[in-house]
Symmetry: D2
Subunit: 261 residues, 4 copies
Amino acid sequence: MSEKKKSPATAIATSSTDQIVVRGRDLVEDLMGKIDFTTMICLHLNGGRLPEPGEVAVVNAVLVALMEHGLTPSSITARLIYDSSPESIQGAVAAGLLGAGSQFLGSTEDAARILQAGVVEIEAGRAVDEVAAELADGFARDRTPVPGFGHHIHRPDDPRAPRLFEIARESGTAGAHQELLLALSRALDEAKGKHITINATGAVAAVLSDVGYPWYALRGFSLIARSAGLIGHVMEEADRPTARALWAMAEREIPYDGDLP
Amino acid sequence: MSEKKKSPATAIATSSTDQIVVRGRDLVEDLMGKIDFTTMICLHLNGGRLPEPGEVAVVNAVLVALMEHGLTPSSITARLIYDSSPESIQGAVAAGLLGAGSQFLGSTEDAARILQAGVVEIEAGRAVDEVAAELADGFARDRTPVPGFGHHIHRPDDPRAPRLFEIARESGTAGAHQELLLALSRALDEAKGKHITINATGAVAAVLSDVGYPWYALRGFSLIARSAGLIGHVMEEADRPTARALWAMAEREIPYDGDLP
Amino acid sequence: MSEKKKSPATAIATSSTDQIVVRGRDLVEDLMGKIDFTTMICLHLNGGRLPEPGEVAVVNAVLVALMEHGLTPSSITARLIYDSSPESIQGAVAAGLLGAGSQFLGSTEDAARILQAGVVEIEAGRAVDEVAAELADGFARDRTPVPGFGHHIHRPDDPRAPRLFEIARESGTAGAHQELLLALSRALDEAKGKHITINATGAVAAVLSDVGYPWYALRGFSLIARSAGLIGHVMEEADRPTARALWAMAEREIPYDGDLP
Amino acid sequence: MSEKKKSPATAIATSSTDQIVVRGRDLVEDLMGKIDFTTMICLHLNGGRLPEPGEVAVVNAVLVALMEHGLTPSSITARLIYDSSPESIQGAVAAGLLGAGSQFLGSTEDAARILQAGVVEIEAGRAVDEVAAELADGFARDRTPVPGFGHHIHRPDDPRAPRLFEIARESGTAGAHQELLLALSRALDEAKGKHITINATGAVAAVLSDVGYPWYALRGFSLIARSAGLIGHVMEEADRPTARALWAMAEREIPYDGDLP
């Protein structure tokens, strides 16, 4: 990122009567029709650097993997709000995105923070397996959930994780963060005496860290992917409504058990 | 879209212990690493049809064009909310997206609705220029703003519009909606006796209509593009804060003029 | 409301090192401990006029009536979002409020608009029953739902409606809008040959119109009341979770019926 | 709060064809016209207990104090979003409420958590001044900001704080939390060698803790009060627009300083 400056300014975009500039490039001449949307996202979130093809491949795979998970708290929310306010699709999408908080996306950030801190130590000279073992021992001792590991449905492995690792290798971007995550996986299996799933969250953290994104940028990719996912739900809801059935279901299965007058 | 069914169901996604299915395809085998994010978006918003390359080219150009406009009500909002609640990036993005309402995006939908209705008449046998002239006369008579025309900065033309038309032609998707929009532009210039800018909104409406999206899907593309744009603003705000300056500015330039006790 | 002025200014609040002024009054000396929250709301939404006791009684009854309806799309939403992002209660409340759109609150505004337009005619000299009959005939002819009438649960009457009318009469604020709504009810029953419920929405529209609020202020009272309601749901959710059960229910009862790979 | 139960249920509300029950009371018979909105809020956030008059007095004072602060990040946001989407007032209010996060409201919760933990120790036998001195020493040693103390405008004291203390005393609810906050204030002044303002946040934390609210309920009162405040801003914006001026101001004073093509 650019160094902080005293008086507020922005390096994002400007325009004049006949030109629109985004990140130092002419939107019409240099970007539209020349680069795809994923490249544009990378350029924007990277602070203006045109991404390498390998970075674009990894970001595409991450966005494709995260876009859609069917009926989840956030897509159910978008459907309920759309049904209440069909004139405001942006309200339905905004409400759904508000579910992208600590319980679902926090773990991506936590996993990336751990991997990025570990890689700093590895680059300072420590062995990968040593860093991994120390992390695994810490989690085992504290009996805390390990960010990036475990899944309530997918067993023995979340199928998205090995695919993301593979795409990162094929794109030439696999590096120290993936290596550390895999070493941590081996160390955890040993420490716990059983196999712990590497989930999509952990794999996303590793492959995006390997192409250079700081941990706090990761929630951004989920929000972009989910916004596309939620619009698909809203469009399906317009065509095949579920919201009234969801409401009736909630009233039926969550009964009132307070006092009666 | 699929036909409406009695009991609620979804055709979006499902998963089992070892497989995730999105729109009838295996996420890991068929989609990740095989298609890019824009193709995935088209697939999702189209209800499951794999898009032609021309459609992807047009959607890429539209998303690239719409992603970023610098400091606007929605990016200022995202920055203010991020500064208040930096622990909740999703809150900043959601707040910014709530600005995507009638005043800015309504006109894309209105333009698409007009073009799609006009093309129905053309396909039923009327001449393009006749439909265009009738529309232009209506707007001139009612003295109402014409959706898709006019811009407060860009003159004589919004540079994004001709570029979108060009990309649509090059991708082989240019069709009756673009033709009608251009005919309407000529008719308006004649009716008003001066050149009226075709804005990006009108051009987006035409090129997305030509690849087959219904008018009510268009707000979705803006929301996806803007969500990426807003994340870039949040990341810049984290690095180079502007929110406190904006707040001070508002207090200074919008004085209290009510009574005093 | 005050007349529009050229350069932007606000008549809401200002502060100095030792004083806070809200609506022309010293917050600490004149308001805190002197007036209750409902009076403060009236003062604020009225543009600074201290309300009469009758107005406060009616607004209290309306806010008490609207605060809570159990499990509805907006409270289910707040619970789902709280479960995803418990660190951001404001996100849960914001998401829930986004459900306060055209399908639930639009009818309050529509009812108030009709009543306020009708009272203008009555004040210009037309008879109440004539205006009511004309409205009833119009709805019967167009076969459109009548804003403020009908309810999917409460029969023969929504019990809140007569209570609101009674409170308005007791507080001395009942006036032409209530009179017109009751005349419209009689005319509708006659036109349709059966009794149509006056719902809470219609009654709220009448009693708030009678104390002088313009139709477009009415959504505001619902939002205030609902924000309190939603916080109660979030606090109950923290104590007795329902969100995971709601999610499981949705997955179970809204099956995937798309293609399989 | 009630103990957790196995199968999901709610004690908030239920209804039948002729009755609406909220918190074990008949809405129409027992609540509407019998209690005011503030009492209804207390009843709801307390889990169903009818509040004492002293509790209602304190909650009224808190809600009146928090409702309105003029142009702040959250009211500026509501105005910008309203201008973009005037058809969706709920979107403007929701966007504004999203600013009620850690930077502004987090400190109320932090202050209440500290006071509530301190009072547990005092009730277990420690002296108030000893607990206060220990807290003050800790903050002085760590050089961290003290939740509930300090203000960027109000000096030497935030006028709302002493007024809230006074109202709590007059209402007979002042207790150990207020006593501890005042002892902490004396200890901080001594430890720092200068007077540190007790801000409204600290005073709200003390007086609401003294009437029995858990620290995590406090954000709720701010959200209710702010929702009323934001609606006043939206209504003023409808009458006397500021959003376009704010946008122009932002573009003018936050210039683009990135590269040019």
